[in-house]
Structure formats: structure tokens, C-alpha cells
């Protein structure tokens, strides 16, 4: 497999293509580690896998045009909506085994754009997985 420079990523939120307004994406999926250690001869700990917490953090450029970042994200946060999220490495190709797409239903528990004089406006948004399907990498395109 070749290495890659992230340039052509696709970021879709609630069916809106926000790729050109995003500049970083970071997926996190963590299983809670539950300590179920009992007394034993070696003193070793024993763990079971607990609940899974998943999120995707995206850094967006602040933009306020029709159907752009603010108009897409703020209503989702304000109205506590659950919406579709998708990210894949290459927007010029459909999802496949070599271009896996992270998909799931997400919520926005916090929303906090801001600005500094003279600086490009950017802010990070954390999308939290919102249902039992969680966020998962898919290797086939949506129908």
C-alpha cells in the first residue's frame, strides 16, 4: 500500500459536501477497559471490553454562505438532531476496500465557532456517534 498526503478527502455532513471547508479529520474509537481482576497467583490484572465511545473531530473553516458550514452545523446542534456523517480519503473515487468510508449517525453536543482579528477563522467540531450502529468503515458505496 502506498503512503498518502491528505488532499482529496471527502467530508459529508447531513448530505452536504463540506470537504472544501474542512482541513483535518480525526476519528476516535475507544472501548472502555473494565477491570475484572480477582485474586490470583501472579498478581496479574484481568480486563473485559466495555462500552465503546466513538467520535470524529473535524477542523472547519468558518463560512456562513448558503448551505455552508454554519448553516449546516448550527441547526444540527441547536435542534439536537441526529444526522448522517461520512468521511473517505479520496473524494474522486467511490468507497472501496482501498478507499474506505467512515459512516454513521452523529450528534453535535457542542458548537463553538470563534474568530481572531487577522487570522483565518477555523474551529473544531466533535461529532459523537449517536446510535447503536456507531461509526464504521464501509467498503461499498451507498446505493
Amino acid at each position: 500500500m502506498s503512503k498518502r498526503v491528505a488532499l482529496k478527502d471527502s467530508v459529508m455532513v447531513d448530505a452536504v459536501d463540506l470537504s472544501n471547508f474542512a482541513r483535518s479529520v480525526e476519528f476516535s474509537s475507544e472501548h472502555e477497559r473494565v477491570d475484572v481482576s480477582g485474586f490470583n497467583a501472579t498478581g496479574s490484572n484481568e480486563y473485559l471490553t466495555g462500552p465503546t465511545e466513538q467520535s470524529v473531530t473535524v477542523e472547519f473553516f468558518g463560512s456562513y454562505g448558503t448551505g455552508e458550514v454554519h448553516q449546516t452545523l448550527y441547526p444540527i446542534h441547536r435542534d439536537r438532531e441526529v444526522v448522517a456523517f461520512a468521511w473517505r480519503p479520496d473524494q474522486t473515487a467511490p468507497a472501496s476496500a482501498t478507499n474506505p468510508e467512515l459512516r454513521g449517525q452523529v450528534q453535535l453536543y457542542s458548537y463553538g465557532p470563534g474568530a481572531t482579528r487577522g487570522d483565518t477563522e477555523t474551529f473544531s467540531v466533535v461529532f459523537q456517534a449517536a446510535d447503536e450502529d456507531g461509526l464504521a468503515f464501509q467498503t461499498t458505496p451507498l446505493p
Binding site: 447531513d14 448530505a15 452536504v16 459536501d17 463540506l18 471547508f21 454562505g65 448558503t66 448551505g67 455552508e68 448553516q71 449546516t72 441547526p75 444540527i76 438532531e81 444526522v83
Partner: protein, 55 residues
């Protein structure tokens, strides 16, 4: 089915601005998309199959 037109440069469901598509969107998805200016309804079939005009 409802015929929609994409009205924002950020597209909708993979369709580009100016393109039309037929779909049955969930009411909440349609409401959000219309509010932010992503789409508009071109033609909607009512339950008896009649066509409604533009919204």
C-alpha cells in the same frame, strides 16, 4: 417520489448545484436541507399520485 433541485454550491447527497433528483427524503432531512438552502422542491407526488406544483 419528490423531485428536488439542488440550490447550494455545497451540493446535496452527491448531486451538484443545479442538478435535479428524485427521492423520498425523511421529513426532518428535507426540512433541514430546505432551511439551509441546499434544495428546493420542484414537484411532489401526493398520495393519490397527482403532481403538486413548486413549493
Amino acid at each position: 417520489m419528490t423531485l428536488y433541485k439542488v440550490t447550494a454550491a455545497t451540493g446535496f447527497r452527491g448531486f451538484k448545484e443545479g442538478e435535479e433528483f428524485e427521492a423520498e427524503l425523511a421529513p426532518d432531512e428535507e426540512r433541514r436541507a430546505k432551511e439551509r438552502g441546499s434544495i428546493r422542491v420542484v414537484k411532489r407526488d401526493d398520495k393519490e399520485g397527482k403532481k403538486e406544483g413548486k413549493e
